[in-house]
Symmetry: C2
Subunit: 154 residues, 2 copies
Amino acid sequence: MSVEIERKFLVRSDAWKALAQGVAMRQGYLSTHPDRTVRVRIEGEIATLTIKGRTQGFSRGEWEYEIPLADAAALLNDICERPRIEKTRTRIVHEGMVWEVDEFFGDNLGLVVAEIELASETQTFARPDWLGEEVTGDARYFNSSLLKRPYTSW
Amino acid sequence: MSVEIERKFLVRSDAWKALAQGVAMRQGYLSTHPDRTVRVRIEGEIATLTIKGRTQGFSRGEWEYEIPLADAAALLNDICERPRIEKTRTRIVHEGMVWEVDEFFGDNLGLVVAEIELASETQTFARPDWLGEEVTGDARYFNSSLLKRPYTSW
């Protein structure tokens, strides 16, 4: 297990788009229970199965396993809850820290969130100009919530 | 993915107990949704994560991955739904076919079921003397159901 410490923000401009190339991601859920989410994800040629526990503060237990691409495709097509989440992830380095900017499509079209992974809950970091309001801990923005109440329905 | 074709029976005597040595199993669920169960199991020193789709007839899609024992112990202790299932599994060969006899403890004390895995839905097999009534497809006997409505509550 690793403990995931993440902070999540909206963006306030498209300036991040010029900074790096994004990669397409497709993901779905076998469980969206907040105490135990189970996610299937395909990113490029890599497929993973990820289990996460309940979020406590900025932290969450996480267990991740790589699985065969064909298994992930079958799970996404036949077994995962509908709808699936489709997004483009862009990794941007800003003053030595990696930001992951997720631009959503489909039912969540228009939503863009930027996440940073930290080594501790108190670690400080520089905020890029394009960064907007913090939404860490706002359950509406959990990927598992975006399945049930997509952004376009807010 | 493999397709699992199983038939499940009760037993009508304890005669199976003299035929082989059982092994202790501990398992819990990250999802008990009938369309997508996700199971964590420790059997001896081997831990697995198993995803199963909806049962159709005697068949069910199944994807299984071995995971580190320490991960499985943490998932069972901290993340899986309560209660967990504790049972002893005894593998018995009868006329060339393997029977798995599961004797349950805890909330399911008193329940014993015998399962056989088949290569096709029409495959025939010899029935041991100790075999009882068939319960294939009876959802009460699914391990995922035994969590919510344990045998001692029937």
